[in-house]
Point group: C2
Chain length 444, copies 2
């Protein structure tokens, strides 16, 4: 920074700030410690100060300050990401959105919220009028809407509504720019893709318009199976069952569920299981499907019971990894898509090839209208080289890997340069101050 | 009949009957006149008397009478079928369900109705509590729930929830048997498939439990395109757009829409067009998709406007054929599935091969989780031989044809004997009295 911290604080006076080094260090982190590859790369990467604006005009003042003094700025929601999305690689300001808490409006099918509104808060408000979020991350209790859009890809609900990148799943965003004269730009329609899943590298998202779905009461089930492939095929069959409405199909090879401590009294040890959210009124056909696959329902909560306390949502997606690591922190993970594997032959091949080293964990999602298994495999980490070998083998066999062991936007799921995002960054962040070093295509 | 009409009327005294020959003849027909092949086959096939029971115990009395005197019995809903499902091939009693009008109960996700409840009535009642039918036929204003289940396969909503045969889309049925001592049997779960789409050949359906979906406000759009294949690809792309919620995607090659008289002032003459129902809150992403395919919106109604008066639903599915025949009654039609044609190459080949003789009309539906085009092509009829040639050519190219030019259950969409249905008939209709000559596997 070409400005002293003292002067900086003066520039943003009236806006809440945090300078306590321990707190700032904490707020420079997310859950990247799931990756032993990322840990050393992100170690010591901390901001100089955290600011907590409470409205858009405060965001604008912060932006003006950053541009004036060429201070790097990294936006942070609740820090539930896993790739250091909110970790400032070059220090500077961390703009935390926790005080941007207004639900601007909410109506049939649509809501407009400030970036720091938590998913759970939006959902509760939406449910009051019979609606709910189309999809939420497993971290829904803490994750913010802005963070989910900027750093997430999909989650619970993706088996119905696809991914966040799909047209329709984000309607509008307001972003504050870091131009010489920072301003507010509203992007609507397909233009939202310019900043969707861009890690906050090209605009400070202050407000979002997101679609809702009509709300169902969701019953929760754990179904155990004697072998993994039956569990996997059950998951695919449920995904393909158009007459059964479901929000989550999360399938786990043993011994994953052994790490679900809070569920230990329900799930038989070493069993392969599926965690499922099904529309409450679809219980009967769901149980017929369970029977067809000779599954055993070992846990069941109706929608009302499921709405309080423990939720299976918090054992799915990357919460699976969280629970496994709570017992054994040598676990890390992969993110994969099995795009052309309707009979799950490739799933089976990977499952058998790696045995206990890579423990299969499928999350069924819709991709271009088709339900496919994504996988968030648990990996017993040994070395970075071995991890790369594992990734390379998957790719050689036709599994798409969205590498979670990189903080570089393009090296994760995207693979190629997104020119719409790059060009938008050229316009709104000419000095390359926003979340520096995250967008590879940007040469600062 | 081995009983005089007079004595028969005595047996069912207290139950409403119709004996006027003109009325009985009318109530012996459905919309099979769409098929010039069926017309001569069904000509003169009339019942002896129509009975209109007003409750299940009256149905039971009618059943007892039929068994006692070995009188054939054919069930009729509103007669909106197209394959003579309700036409009595051997005279006897026509049991019309129009007085079985009770909605027994309706709650979140489920409704229990008597067989004669109209789809539109159920939908209105469901909407009061925020729900709606998962799928309806284009004849929803007159069609009954029982008739739709016994004789239909899917419809508006099948692009979301699949077909009526899919597990979950029918929950329970009560049927009255024609055993020596007629009784009431309730079938639940997978057992409902014993009578699902069986044309009433193996039980008189008196009551049904059907699932509901959470209700959306549906906006209606007609989008015109300069060429058919762009319209078709738009339909498939919309079907695959998981972020856009839709209930109907009905795509018509020119000159089909020229026959939509009530829409003539909106749809440009000779254009290829898509009739679409989209969740009202998804208008914006829908219009982005329209733009991507360079379509022109030529008709738009929001959900409130669409809920009264004209609905595009009544130009889709087999209503298309109805409108074409209103102008030119030499039109007939086909029913097809393009099961493995994600790029619509087969659709294109058929479209180009037959030119104006077979006018393409696609209805996108979900089959085992995948959105595919079904087709209800308009066919310019010349001879039965030519019609068979057209069908054979489609089949030789890999198009699945559910032949609508037969009144035989197995010769339509089913193709093979359904042993569950046959065995159930053996039990509940030992004398083969129910809708005789419709189930080929039954040797009476």
């Amino acid at each position: 920074m070409q400005i002293s911290l003292e002067n900086l604080l003066e520039e943003v006076s009236g806006i809440e700030t945090i300078t306590n080094p321990a707190q700032v260090a904490k707020l420079s982190e997310d859950y990247a410690h799931f990756s032993p590859v990322l840990v050393p790369l992100l170690a010591g990467k901390v901001g100089d100060v955290v600011v907590r604006p409470s409205n858009e005009s405060e965001v604008l003042r912060i932006a003006q300050t950053c541009v004036k003094y060429k201070i790097p700025l990294t936006v942070r929601g609740s820090g539930t990401g896993n790739y250091g999305q909110c970790t400032p690689m070059r220090g500077g300001i961390i703009l935390e959105t926790s005080r941007l808490q207004a639900i601007k409006w909410i109506k049939a099918g649509l809501a407009c919220v400030e970036a720091g509104v938590k998913m759970v808060t939006l959902d509760k408000k939406a449910q009051e009028i019979g609606w709910e979020s189309r999809m939420v991350p497993s971290t829904f209790r803490t994750a913010t809407v802005g963070g989910f859009i900027a750093g997430g890809s999909g989650g619970i609900g993706s088996v119905l509504y696809g991914q966040l990148r799909d047209r329709g799943n984000l309607r509008a965003v307001r972003v504050v720019t870091l131009e010489d004269e920072p301003r507010i730009i509203e992007l609507r329609g397909d233009d939202v893709q310019k900043v969707n899943h861009a890690y906050g590298t090209n605009g400070i998202i202050t407000e979002l318009e997101v679609p809702l779905a009509t709300a169902y009461g969701w019953s929760e089930f754990v179904v155990s199976f004697t072998d993994f492939m039956t569990a996997a095929r059950f998951g695919q069959a449920l995904g393909n069952s158009d007459g059964i409405i479901k929000k989550l199909i999360s399938v786990h090879a043993a011994p994953s569920s052994n790490y679900f401590t809070a569920l230990q009294s329900y799930i038989p040890k070493d069993s392969h299981c599926a965690l499922v959210l099904v529309a409450e009124s679809d219980r009967e056909p769901f149980l017929s499907l369970v029977k067809e696959f000779q599954g055993e329902v070992c846990y069941e909560k109706n929608a009302q019971e499921a709405s309080k306390g423990l939720s299976l949502v918090e054992f799915s997606w990357n919460h699976t990894t969280l629970h496994a690591r709570a017992t054994d922190d040598s676990f890390t993970y992969l993110q994969s898509l099995f795009l052309n594997d309707p009979k799950l032959e490739l799933v089976q091949r990977m499952h058998e090839y790696f045995g206990d080293e890579v423990i299969m964990h499928l999350e069924f999602i819709r991709v271009n209208g088709v339900v496919i298994p994504a996988a968030i495999q648990l990996v017993r980490f040994t070395t970075g080289d071995r991890l790369n070998e594992i990734i390379a083998y998957h790719e050689s066999q036709g599994v798409f890997i969205a590498n979670p062991h990189t903080y570089i936007l393009e090296d994760g799921g995207m693979k190629t340069v997104d020119y719409a995002q790059l060009n938008f960054k050229r316009m709104v962040d000419p000095y390359g101050l926003m979340n520096p070093d995250k967008m590879k295509a940007w040469k600062s």
